[in-house]
Amino acid sequence: MVLAEVVQYVATGLLVGGVYALMSIGLALIFGVMRVVNFAQGDFMMLGMYLTYFYAVSGGVDPLLGALLTIPPFFALGWIVHRSLLARVTGGGDPQRQMDAQLILTLGLSLVITNATTMILSPTPLGIRTDYATQAFALGPVLLNQARSYAFAMALVLAVAVYLFLTRTDLGKALRASADDPEAASYQGIDVRAMHGLAFGIGIALVAAAGGLLAAYHPIEPTVAGNFIVLMFVAVVLGGLGSIPGAFVGGIVIGLVQSLTLLVLPFQLQNTGVFIVFLLVLYLRPQGFFGRRTRAV
């Protein structure tokens, strides 16, 4: 195995991991603030892919721009879903019963979204043809796929933007306060319910944007979420439940491990490396990479 090949595997892993990271941030934010495990997260990503597709075919919008344009409508959608559904099973009462209700609700929502999309938009896979999906930047012998490189850069920008929003703005601080101690936050005049709506809206908007970036090089179909949802959860747990930087690092690690696993294991075991690392982290550091220090956002 020559060095160039190893570098290629590392570069590929980083690029793949970048989009996993953006997908996972939204999930981590929702869990960190609301303590809701959103099984429908991947389905919102799938809807984001479809919206990006429709932007592309109806308005000729490039998917990289389309990914950004999915953010406002999906923020609104997330806020509405929170107001109309999730708010009924969050924010008080027996925590165990609430957790059960949330799990059933988000799982049900996932099934409804997948099947409704299959019925309305048909299972026929769609794709956005872009020149950069099949072109690469050549760094010597190492090739970096252009679509994945752009997606990685945008994922990085969005992740930094979310981080700055949470740490540098009053609204972000209010959101973090609601995550740390909802009761104390409400005594300070923070509308915790509104903060939950905000967190859910941002979480859904981020995953929809990740879907938009993915649509630049990945086929779109109603069941595409199934390929990614488990990896999203693994990234969030690896990084430390509810931690935004943790989820980002978790996503990158998954991409890297998936790629580097192929240096030693056959293709059929591509995800085996991910789960071995996952088990090792749970065993050696159960709180995840960033679990202790930045458990809350």
Binding site: Q8, P123, T124, T134, Y217, H218, P219, T223, G226
Partner: protein, 405 residues
């Protein structure tokens, strides 16, 4: 006087109406129900959708031509069940559809892994089952109710290898190194197995890339990188899951891999490929299939395209269309909608003309004792100008084969 005439009118009216009260119309022939268990959701849903299009077209034709004549014009009715995206779901769908009401025969379930499970249910419930799936093991279990119209995977591997080596010799590019790239679904595995174990070695070909994965594929870079660095003279390609296949083909273009690609199955010739990767990537890629429109089937293809809006017809609707017609022929011969009688008729059937053989090469349907179609021979289909054409055998080719650039 007035009341007398009124009574008379009533009596006359009753006299006219009375016969109608006692004469009942002849009972309508009972519908003959066919099950279609195919993936209508999940990652193989498109193939299920295409199968349903073929079945619907055949049923409409049969019913508009008077239905099953041996059963007094009984209509054919389709009962579809969603096989989903796992063997468990496919088996459960088959169980549900076959036990809910009387089903005379069944068709399905596209992916060999699903068909293996579904035919176990059909065998247990004694319902004859027609399948286009390729895996050898489908008809290696001694089942009496399973009928496989496609040439099995191992036969396809043998014939595809013969063909590509002959073509390579003609073009002065002998094959010395080969690659196998694809997923581990049953039909693909049965195709790779004889290549790995004997066929390649027998022709003096070295297997230099052998990468098989479980769908979905996370990323195709590593696979295509291997192809780029090792440059096999032929790549046997079996990625049945559309997103996986798209990733591989995009990378093939990105890394400028020049090795010719020989696909394994009809999943590689669906219209979505043109829309997603473009015809320039697809042109000259060829695949071995059980069925594809052949010379002289222009009218059938035209009708299908008009009905469905699809840009071309492929194996899945064509085979399912023929399967429905084949069941119709079996019911006519059995003169019964009883599944056992239909099974016996299918076991004896020997047809060489008509819509029931339209999907098959050679155009004859006769099953051996295992339930395999006697003489089943695969076709080679090649992408040319953004459309897949039958190129081999030349007797039924719709275009001559184009050599790899």
């Amino acid at each position: 006087m007035r009341s007398l005439s009124r009574t008379l009118v009533i009596v006359l009216a009753l006299a006219l109406v009375a016969p109608a009260l006692f004469i009942r119309p002849a009972p309508a022939a009972e519908d003959v129900k066919i099950a279609l268990v195919a993936p209508l959701s999940g990652r193989w849903a498109r193939q299920g959708q295409l199968k349903k299009m073929g079945a619907d077209m055949a049923i409409e034709e049969i019913n508009s031509q008077g239905g099953i004549k041996a059963l007094g014009g009984a209509k054919l009715v389709l009962r579809e069940a969603d096989a989903g995206d796992s063997v468990e779901k496919a088996v459960s769908a088959a169980q549900r559809v076959l036990t809910r009401e009387k089903i005379s025969a069944g068709i399905g379930s596209w992916l060999s892994s699903f068909t293996l499970g579904v035919t176990e249910v059909a065998e247990r419930l004694q319902v004859p089952w027609l399948s286009l799936s390729y895996a050898d093991s489908i008809t290696e279990r001694g089942f009496k109710y399973t009928f496989q119209t496609s040439p099995v995977s191992s036969l396809q591997a043998e014939q595809a290898l013969d063909l590509v080596t002959e073509l390579a010799k003609k073009n002065n590019r002998p094959i010395k190194k080969a690659g196998i790239v694809g997923d581990n679904t049953a039909a693909s595995m049965f195709f790779y197995k004889p290549l790995r174990e004997k066929l390649l070695a027998a022709k003096g070909i070295e297997l230099i890339v052998d990468d098989v994965w479980t769908p979905p594929l996370a990323d195709a870079t590593a696979i295509v990188q291997k192809l780029r660095s090792s440059q096999p003279d032929i790549v046997f390609y079996g990625a049945t899951n559309f997103p996986d296949s798209i990733q591989v083909l995009q990378k093939v273009k990105e890394f400028s891999v020049k090795s010719p690609i020989q696909g394994v199955g009809a999943w590689l010739v669906t219209p979505e490929y043109v829309k997603t990767v473009g015809k320039e990537v697809l042109d000259n890629i060829q695949t071995v299939v059980a069925s594809h429109p052949m010379k002289g089937q222009d009218e059938l293809v035209k009708k299908f395209k008009q009905r469905t809006g699809e840009p071309f017809m492929t194996q899945d609707p064509l085979c399912t269309y023929a399967h429905v017609w084949l069941i119709k022929e079996a019911v006519e011969q059995a003169k019964s909608a009883d599944p056992k009688a239909i099974r016996d008729a299918l076991a004896k059937v020997d047809i060489s003309a008509g819509p029931a053989v339209s999907a098959f090469y050679p155009p004859r349907v006769k099953f051996d004792e295992r339930g395999r179609r006697v003489g089943a021979t695969p076709l080679i289909v090649q992408w040319q100008d953004g459309e897949p054409y039958t190129v081999i055998p030349t007797a039924v080719a719709t275009r001559p084969i184009a050599s790899h650039k």
